[in-house]
């Protein structure tokens, strides 16, 4: 059961993120929702490479025994970097939308429709 805990956490985090994206109308909160989904996916990746009682994958500190998989950690790192870029860009857009529209409510930011 305790082995399943990370996966349950992943499901909960992604679920909360999707809920925020669908039902919160504050644009900043929507960006936070996307960030939450991203954290959930990252946690999932990290969990995949984890082994109980294994060493961290650092070459110079390793002397026998099992190591956790380094690949998922590299993947997570890459996806965190991408996440920083997307979050920064989204927040910059929100700031600009606020400048032009005077509101960060999703119901107001809909001049483009139809």
């Amino acid at each position: 059961m305790i082995d399943m805990a990370p996966y349950i956490t992943v499901a909960i985090i992604i679920g909360i993120g999707l809920y925020i994206c669908m039902f919160k109308s504050n644009l900043i909160k929507i960006v936070m929702g996307i960030s939450l989904i991203e954290s959930g996916v990252n946690l999932f990746l990290i969990t995949l490479g984890y082994r109980h009682g294994a060493y961290a994958p650092i070459f110079t500190m390793f002397n026998g025994g099992i190591m956790t998989l380094p690949t998922p950690q590299a993947l997570t790192l890459t996806s965190i970097v991408i996440g920083v870029a997307t979050t920064a860009l989204l927040l910059a857009f929100v700031i600009k939308i606020y400048r032009h529209y005077g509101s960060i409510d999703a119901k107001d930011a809909r001049r483009l429709k139809g």
């Binding site: 650092i58 070459f59 110079t60 390793f62 002397n63 790192l77 970097v81 920083v84 920064a88 910059a92």
Partner: protein, 155 residues
Amino acid sequence: MKPMSVIVRTMTRSLYPFILLFGAYLVVHGHLTPGGGFQGGAVAASAIALAIAAFGGTKAYHEKTLALFESGGLLFFLSLGLIGMGVAFMWNFLAGSGSLFGDPVAYGSNPGYLNTAGTIPLMNIAVGLEVVGGLGAIMLAMGSYAFDEDKEVSS
């Protein structure tokens, strides 16, 4: 926005070089310990964020310098990859060569020797420069939005 209190500003002044130093440490030791270009660069960029928040303005930084850091770092990274083209793109041509970062890697538990791993530390430095430039430019842009400065930062 007004600058923050004198306590914050004094602490920022004294902490600023150490944050940069820690960032540089993370970058340079990227091939030995957890860390590397992005993490170190992000730490260094957090110093910029701290300064912007504490002194209430972005005037101390020039967008052009940061942009130069960004493209320069990436160009350095890419040229390292292109130099290895004799065998394959990104080929580690320095590893085991005995020159810069060219010592062979020791097996087993050891404190870690800086002069190993070939092009990887160089690439870490390149990425570190790029990340300081990129994140710094983001901080600058966001800071100038937040403080309502007339200067429009367009990156």
